[in-house]
C-alpha cells in the first residue's frame, strides 16, 4: 500500500462559537465556519478543490452546500455514518490528496439541534420525523421504543454485568470532562460537578443518568486539509495526519457480541500507519455521546484491557496533567453536541497540537501526538468508528 503517513495536514480550523442560533440557517453556520477556517490557514476559496460534509438534516448535503457557497469542487464526499463521519472524511481527504486528485479540501458540519428542539437522545422513532418504519431493521427494532440513549444504556448495563463497572466510574468521565469545560469560555456548561451530582441526577435510561448524557446544542465548524507542499506555505504550523482507520459494527445478524465496539477494528491500522504506540499519545479526543462511550472506546482502542475502562478513567488519569488527558475542550458532555460531534474532536486536537493554550491550564504539556476517535450511530445496534492520529512537526 502507498504510505499515507504525513500525506496531508490540517492547516486551518474554525469552531463556530454558537451554541444557540435560532436566527441562522445551517448552511450559513457552515459558510461562516469555512470562511474563518480558510482565513486561519491563509488560503482562499479558490484553493479549495475538495468538499466534505455530512448532515442528518440538510438534504443532499454536499450539493446544497456547494450551491450555497457557490463552489465547484472536483472531489466530493458526503460519507454519513453518524457522529464520527468527520474522522472518515479526514481519512478520505488524506487518500484523495495522497493520490494527487486534490491539494486542498474542506470538511464542514453544522446543526441546529437545540433551536430546532430535536430530542437527539430520547426522541424515539420520532427523531427521524414521522414514525413510519422501514421493513428492516426498523420493523424489528423501533416497535419496542428504542432511543439513542437506550441503545448506549444497554451496553453500559452489559459492561457493568460483565466487568463490575460502577455508576460512579461512569460518572467520573462526566466529572473530568466538566473540569476541562470549566477552562473553556465557549463551553455550554462550565460549573464543576461531582460524582454525587451525576449519580443523583434523574435516570434517563438505566443505568445512565442525565449527566451521563451529552448536551444538545446548535453549532458547527470547519477543517482545512492540505497537501504537504501546500501546507508548508500556510500561515499555521501543519498538523500532520499520521494514521487513520475505519470500521463499522452491527449486530451481525443477531450473533455479534457488541460489547466489543468498532474501535477495536479501526485502532490497529491507525497505529500501524502512524508507526507509534499508545505510550506516544499525548492526548486523545474520544467521542463522548455518553459516559459509557468513552470507557468502551478507551478499552477497544487499546489504552487499557477490556473491562478495565472504569478503573482507567479514575484518579485523574484522563484529566490535563494525567497520563492520558481526553476531551480537553469539555467534550460533548459539557461543551457542545450539535447532533453529530466528530468534527470538534479534530478541532480541539489541532488546537492542542498547535500549543494554542500555551501558558494556560488548558494546554496539555508537551503535546506532540494526539488521537481522535469518532463514534457514530449507536453502540447497541449499529455504529461507526473512525480513528485518526495527528502529530506536529
Amino acid at each position: 500500500m502507498v504510505d499515507l503517513k504525513r500525506g496531508a495536514a490540517i492547516v486551518g480550523i474554525n469552531e463556530h462559537i454558537t451554541r444557540y442560533s435560532p436566527d441562522k440557517s445551517e448552511l450559513q453556520i457552515q459558510g461562516e465556519s469555512v470562511i474563518k477556517a480558510l482565513e486561519d490557514a491563509g488560503l482562499t476559496k479558490n484553493d479549495v478543490e475538495g468538499l466534505f460534509t455530512a448532515s442528518s438534516s440538510i438534504r443532499n448535503s454536499g450539493l446544497n452546500l456547494a450551491d450555497y457557497l457557490n463552489m465547484y469542487p472536483k472531489y466530493v464526499d458526503n460519507t454519513t455514518v453518524g457522529g464520527g463521519s468527520f474522522e472518515f472524511h479526514l481519512s478520505h481527504a488524506l487518500t484523495a490528496i495522497s493520490a494527487g486528485r486534490i491539494n486542498c479540501a474542506v470538511i464542514t458540519y453544522s446543526s441546529l439541534a437545540r433551536s430546532g428542539g430535536v430530542s437527539v437522545g430520547t426522541g424515539g422513532v420520532a427523531r427521524f420525523g414521522h414514525p413510519r418504519l422501514d421493513p428492516s431493521p426498523d420493523s424489528f427494532e423501533e416497535l419496542y421504543g428504542l432511543t439513542t440513549v437506550g441503545l448506549y444504556a444497554m451496553i453500559a448495563q452489559r459492561h457493568m454485568h460483565l466487568y463490575g463497572t460502577t455508576s460512579e466510574q461512569l460518572a467520573q468521565v462526566a466529572v473530568s470532562t466538566r473540569k476541562h469545560a470549566s477552562m473553556n469560555p465557549e463551553a455550554l456548561f462550565r460549573t464543576p460537578i461531582t460524582v454525587e451530582d451525576v449519580v443523583n441526577a434523574r435516570v434517563i435510561s438505566s443505568p445512565l443518568h442525565l449527566l451521563d448524557c451529552c448536551v444538545i446544542t446548535d453549532g458547527g465548524g470547519a477543517v482545512v486539509v492540505a497537501s504537504p507542499e501546500l501546507a508548508r506555505s500556510c500561515k499555521q504550523n501543519p498538523v500532520w495526519v499520521l494514521g487513520v482507520g475505519e470500521a463499522l459494527a452491527h449486530q451481525g445478524a443477531g450473533k455479534r457480541d457488541l460489547i466489543e465496539i468498532a474501535a477495536k477494528q479501526s485502532t490497529t491500522p491507525a497505529f500501524a500507519m502512524a508507526g507509534v504506540t499508545h505510550k506516544d499519545i499525548d492526548m486523545a479526543m474520544i467521542y463522548d455521546s455518553f459516559t459509557i462511550t468513552v470507557i468502551e472506546t478507551l478499552e477497544d482502542l487499546g489504552f487499557c484491557k477490556k473491562g478495565e475502562g472504569g478503573d482507567f478513567v479514575s484518579g485523574g488519569r484522563i484529566e490535563i496533567g494525567g497520563e492520558l488527558p481526553i476531551n480537553t475542550d469539555g467534550g460533548g458532555l459539557s461543551s457542545n453536541h450539535p447532533g453529530m460531534r466528530g468534527i470538534f474532536l479534530l478541532l480541539e486536537a489541532t488546537r492542542q497540537l498547535r500549543h494554542q493554550f500555551e501558558g494556560t491550564p488548558r494546554q496539555v504539556p508537551n503535546c506532540n501526538i494526539a488521537l481522535c476517535h469518532g463514534t457514530g450511530g449507536a453502540l447497541g445496534s449499529r455504529h461507526s468508528g473512525g480513528t485518526v492520529i495527528l502529530g506536529r512537526d
Partner: protein, 135 residues
C-alpha cells in the same frame, strides 16, 4: 382490542412469513440450508454466505435477557405514556439476539441472564407483536 398507538411494522415479501407466523402465535427465525447459520432479523438472503437457500424455523420462543435498560424518557407518541418500560436484547435458545420489551413484570425485577419466553400482543387484525415475559 385496545387501540394501538405505537408504530406498526412495514411488511414486505422477505418479512411477511415472520409477521404471518406472529399472527398465529409462533415466533420464527431463518436458517440457511447451505451454511446452517441462523439469522435475525429476517432477510431475503443469508447474510453469512449470501445464499438464498434459507428456510423458516419455528423458534422455541425461549431465551435469556442479554442486556436491558429501563427507559424513563421517550418523546415518541405511543411510548411517552408507557415509561418506565424495559427495552431488552433477548438471546434466543437458537443463539440469535433480538430487540424486544420485557413485559408482565416489574421493570426493577429484570436482570441480565433471566429466562424469558415469547408472548404476543395483537396490534390489529394483521399484526401481532412478539414480546417476552419471565419464564
Amino acid at each position: 382490542m385496545p387501540e394501538w398507538n405505537k408504530p406498526l411494522p412495514s411488511v414486505v415479501g422477505e418479512t411477511k412469513p415472520y409477521w404471518d407466523s406472529c399472527k398465529r402465535g409462533d415466533l420464527v427465525i431463518q436458517k440457511c440450508d447451505d451454511c446452517d447459520e441462523y439469522q435475525f432479523y429476517p432477510r431475503g438472503i443469508c447474510s453469512n454466505c449470501w445464499s438464498n437457500n434459507i428456510q423458516w424455523i419455528k423458534s422455541t420462543g425461549k431465551g435469556t435477557v442479554w442486556t436491558y435498560t429501563v427507559t424513563y424518557q421517550n418523546r415518541t407518541h405511543g411510548f411517552a405514556q408507557d415509561v418506565p418500560y424495559v427495552l431488552a436484547l433477548v438471546e434466543l435458545d437458537e443463539g440469535v439476539k433480538m430487540f424486544t420489551n420485557i413485559v408482565e413484570c416489574e421493570p426493577s425485577s429484570v436482570q441480565i441472564g433471566m429466562s424469558v419466553e415469547v408472548t404476543f400482543i395483537q396490534a390489529n387484525n394483521q399484526i401481532s407483536v412478539p414480546y417476552f415475559r419471565p419464564a
